[in-house]
Symmetry: C2
Subunit: 183 residues, 2 copies
Amino acid sequence: MKKVLVLLHPGFEEIEAITAVDLLRRAGITVTTASVTKDLKILGSRNVSVMADALLSACADQIFDMLLIPGGPGVDALRMRPEVLELVRKFRNEQGYIAAICAAPLVLMDAGITSNLTVTSFPGSEEEFTGQVRSYVQDRVHIDGKVITSRGAGTSEEFALTLISLLLNPEAAEQVRQRIVAR
Amino acid sequence: MKKVLVLLHPGFEEIEAITAVDLLRRAGITVTTASVTKDLKILGSRNVSVMADALLSACADQIFDMLLIPGGPGVDALRMRPEVLELVRKFRNEQGYIAAICAAPLVLMDAGITSNLTVTSFPGSEEEFTGQVRSYVQDRVHIDGKVITSRGAGTSEEFALTLISLLLNPEAAEQVRQRIVAR
């Protein structure tokens, strides 16, 4: 059984977080949403309050196959959290998957793991990556080994289906894709 | 300022509800999420708990331009709620917009408003509409006057952008579409 840890941070982009949680759970993957604050209730960027499954501080001892970070304006504050940057480095060192969408690839950059990686991100964040990555691409979803990056709320579905394909197999992703009447 | 009432029901499909709320709010539309139960906290179909903005029972006196109903397995129970069927009839009688996605068009059928309408829905619900609608189509989003129907989580983005286009104008929808890096 594959396990994924999704970080929920104040100001997270709701579509990016919820689409991943929903589609991965449809595929039978165990998803834990973890609040980076001391409160399970987290307010997203478009004023939707979501209850996280756990506090991140309570997840430290568990083992996950993937760390997934949604974007949104909350990423600015997320980049200031040393425990989150440390978590990214831990996943990288232990060869887990790391998935980040929209502005969230900036967290990977701040954690210092991107210098040998090719990434994409929200178009508005592109310039910040100059000199910090091997190369920057404008793919809707980009896979570089175990690090998967994507661009925004409108690429969330492709991002989530790619993650299912990597964690399980392409057939599992295709089943979910058909079930939701995706394009 | 346009106002939209989104019904949240236990077992609602998270992507369908959240995508609409998020994108409509991005367009500057005032969206109120209303719980159909006595609890603001509502558990979706893929175990995401969301806090509604209000109880539906507290929204009775307000005027909205659109009623929006997300799908999900919770629609089975929603169809049993006389106050919800009455609400659908009220919007229809007062010529408000009614938007329903996935299994939610069945609620419109049960409210008795579909006999002269062309609708779509989740593919699995198609047969239930036999003899209850003017015609059934497999469009990803279908507009019949002020009633807009759509098919599933994978058509949520097109559904929401269509609603923005109708409530505001096509330029507003296009702005949101570009901002989220939609296809």
